[in-house]
């Protein structure tokens, strides 16, 4: 059953906007189909199971426009001032989803093809994979994205190439009023390719709030490896709804690291991984911090469709102030997926009486020869550990802060790129120290 939220000016204005846009838009067929589907689904309400604890409607109400302002010209110094630059990486800078070649350092074309999504129609991999992800049509916001996305990145690592340096995508958002931005990406690792992608995000000078509704479709083909870091560290006045839809072919490896250490009001991550062939390996790591009045929601799913695949998921969160965290992890082991190994763990620390966590690990198994486990914990700092540190002369504030950081650093220790690990540890440390001293 679908409940369509009404009285949202954005929703009411969409048909007209769509009619205006579709004339000159790329990929009109896909867009039309998606818009039809979106109209059936509407925006999700708290009656929609997957949005039970995340009421997105209030965020859609205050007169949001979808017309992107002209991208401001950005100097290298301004880019540097974002603090997002990383050493030893290829760099792709996007403003409101559009690639800024003058600020970017592309990987060699012999190894990686990079196109704007609006100009990728001729690419065979684009034709093969664009808007084909399983579960795409389940996501309200992903349908809206397909219907009205403006631009984004098509990235294709060629077969058997090893892209030595990580590709760092810097998403910058600019607005002159309340704005809905809808970037769309498609990344393909061709057979045997190895690629690392790091995503960072920041707001440029902006007035009003920016609601980012982004979709990444990633395809990791046979024996390919993709490591994907999502560093969600933007400032205030931003809201994020991210859909990451991953397909894995035989013997492929996909690693996802999602760190939500941000001042954004709302972050909703939908991460769906579909294991479409045998002997794949998947690791999903997440750490989230919900403070102030923030709502941080991670919905993940792993579909084991074929035998002999292994998935491993570890998410941890710390809730402070009046922050709310939501975790939902689904693992489906389909009938054919014998010899599956699937593990999932979600641990939470709730450190304020006004903070909340809603966590739901779900495991659905339709095969009979599998190894699966899942678990979730909600707690505070261990009193025994706290006393141990105090009994060695370490003060209460320092001791608590050490323990909370230790809880986070178990996740950051999984990061394979030293500069990325350093950045997330510094940020986590900074936020948690500030919270401990309050």
């Amino acid at each position: 059953m679908t409940t369509i939220a009404t009285n949202i000016s954005l929703y009411d204005s969409l048909p007209e906007l769509f009619a205006e846009q579709i004339g000159g838009a790329s990929y009109p067929e896909a867009r039309k189909a998606a818009f039809e589907r979106f109209q059936q689904l509407g925006f999700p309400t708290v009656k929609t199971e997957d949005w039970k604890y995340t009421n997105v409607i209030p965020y859609l109400k205050n007169g949001i426009g979808i017309q992107l302002p002209a991208a401001p010209s950005l100097s290298a110094a301004q880019l540097e001032a974002t603090g997002l630059l990383l050493p030893d990486v290829y760099r792709l800078v996007l403003v409101n989803g559009e690639l800024q070649p003058q600020l970017s350092e592309l990987p060699p074309a012999s190894k990686v093809t990079i196109r704007k999504m609006s100009e990728a129609a001729e690419e065979a991999a684009f034709q093969q994979y664009f808007a084909k992800s399983k579960k795409l049509d389940e996501h309200h916001f992903a349908q809206l994205n397909t219907a009205l996305f403006t631009d984004g990145l098509f990235i294709e690592a060629k077969a058997k190439t090893q892209v030595e340096q990580p590709i760092h995508i810097i998403h910058l958002y600019h607005s002159t009023g309340n704005l809905l931005v809808q970037p769309r990406h498609l990344w393909v690792a061709q057979p045997g390719a190895e690629m690392q992608i790091i995503e960072s995000v920041a707001g440029l000078e902006q007035s009003g709030t920016v609601l980012v509704n982004s979709v990444v479709e990633a395809v990791v083909t046979e024996r390919a490896q993709l490591s994907h870091y999502q560093l969600q560290t933007s400032g205030q006045h931003s809201r994020f709804i991210n859909q990451t839809l991953v397909q894995q072919h035989g013997k492929s490896l996909y690693n996802n690291y999602t760190f939500t250490l941000t001042e954004a009001d709302l972050v909703r991550n939908n991460l769906n991984v579909s294991l479409d062939d045998e002997r794949t390996e998947t690791h999903l790591y997440g750490f989230y911090l919900a403070m102030g009045n923030q709502l941080v929601d991670n919905h993940t799913s792993v579909d084991h469709r074929m035998p002999n695949c292994e998935s491993n998921e570890l998410y941890r969160g710390v809730m402070l102030d009046k922050g709310t965290g939501v975790f939902n992890g689904k693992i489906f082991v389909h009938e054919d997926a014998q010899k599956t190994n699937a593990f999932q763990q979600n641990n939470n620390m709730v450190l304020s009486p006004d903070a909340n966590i809603y966590t739901k690990p779900q495991l659905e198994i339709f095969a009979d020869d599998v190894k699966c486990s899942h678990g979730t914990t909600i707690g505070q700092v261990s009193e025994d550990a706290l006393f141990y540190l105090k009994a060695r002369g370490i003060g209460d504030v320092t001791a608590r802060s050490m323990l909370v950081k230790a809880f986070a650093f178990d996740i950051t220790a999984q990061v394979k790129i030293p500069a990325v690990r350093k950045r997330v540890e510094q940020l986590a440390s900074q936020y948690l120290t500030a919270a401990a001293n309050n």
Binding site: Y388, K390, R392, D396, T398, F409
Partner: protein, 255 residues
């Protein structure tokens, strides 16, 4: 150094310590023995400042200051060290970072600047050698995946680093094999001096063969019922605690 007078304490309303008197001077080693449930570990917990224990009567002075008025961390900074019966595993906190933080918080308490990295590492190496502590364990998370013996040795190593005036050892011998017991005891003996004192809580006389006490006290039902020299420990080993219990029953007024 430590002066305990008529100490009463309770956990969740149940009286555990019922009037302990004990005086420990610098340079002394006191052993506290007693049967299960007599209040030995509770005494250690009260002295270290565990929150669950409520002091209902009596006083404890440490170096002339009111110990009971201090938070656990201030007690530690003033020079009280508790070697735990069950040292806690803390994943994600590195042993070395933990020790550095502890050393510097104690220094700050005494108005000293933080230790320079080089000086700290030198001290670390020197104490590792002294305590025969495996350097590989230093870089691991605090006690994570350590064997029982390694955890106890780590506690004694911490003691060497923090140089307390008073060390309270809560059943440090429990769960140790004979080799680990020897190493831990040797460590303690190396740290003994005329300026510090030890209170050693144990079930068994065995530990006292390695760490020879100046005084032995028997705790029973929340009180010290007998005190003596190291020979008392041998007598207990031979006769068991029942011998004492019988004695005490005769002395207690009929209720």
């Amino acid at each position: 150094m430590l002066n305990i007078k008529n100490l009463h304490a309770a956990v969740e309303g149940n009286a555990i310590l019922k009037g302990i008197n004990l005086n420990v001077k610098a340079g002394e080693v006191h052993a506290i023995m007693g049967p299960n449930g007599s209040g030995k570990s509770s005494l250690a917990s009260v002295l270290a400042g565990r929150e669950a224990y409520e002091v209902t009567e009596g006083s404890v002075e440490f170096e002339g200051k009111d110990l009971l008025d201090m938070s656990p961390e201030v007690r530690a900074r003033e020079g009280v060290f508790l070697a735990f019966q069950y040292p806690v595993e803390i994943p994600g906190v590195s042993n070395i970072n933990f020790l550095k933080t502890a050393v510097n918080e104690i220094r700050a308490h005494h108005g000293q600047p933080p230790m320079q990295a080089k000086a700290f590492l030198d001290m670390l190496k020197q104490k590792q050698k002294l305590m025969e502590f495996d350097a590989n364990l230093m870089n691991r998370s605090l006690n994570e995946g350590f064997s029982g013996g390694e955890k106890k040795r780590n506690d004694i190593f911490q003691m060497a680093m923090l140089e307390p005036k008073l060390a309270i050892m809560d059943e440090t011998d429990s769960g140790l094999d004979i080799d680990a017991l020897r190493v831990v005891s040797a460590g303690v003996n190396k740290l003994r001096s005329k300026d510090n004192a030890f209170v050693i809580i144990t079930h068994y006389q065995r530990l006292l063969e390695y760490i020879v006490p100046d005084y032995v006290h028997v705790l029973y039902n929340g009180r010290i019922v007998k005190s003596g020299t190291k020979e008392l420990a041998l007598e207990l080993e031979e006769k068991g605690y029942d011998w004492l219990k019988a004695d005490i029953r005769l002395e207690e007024p009929v209720q």
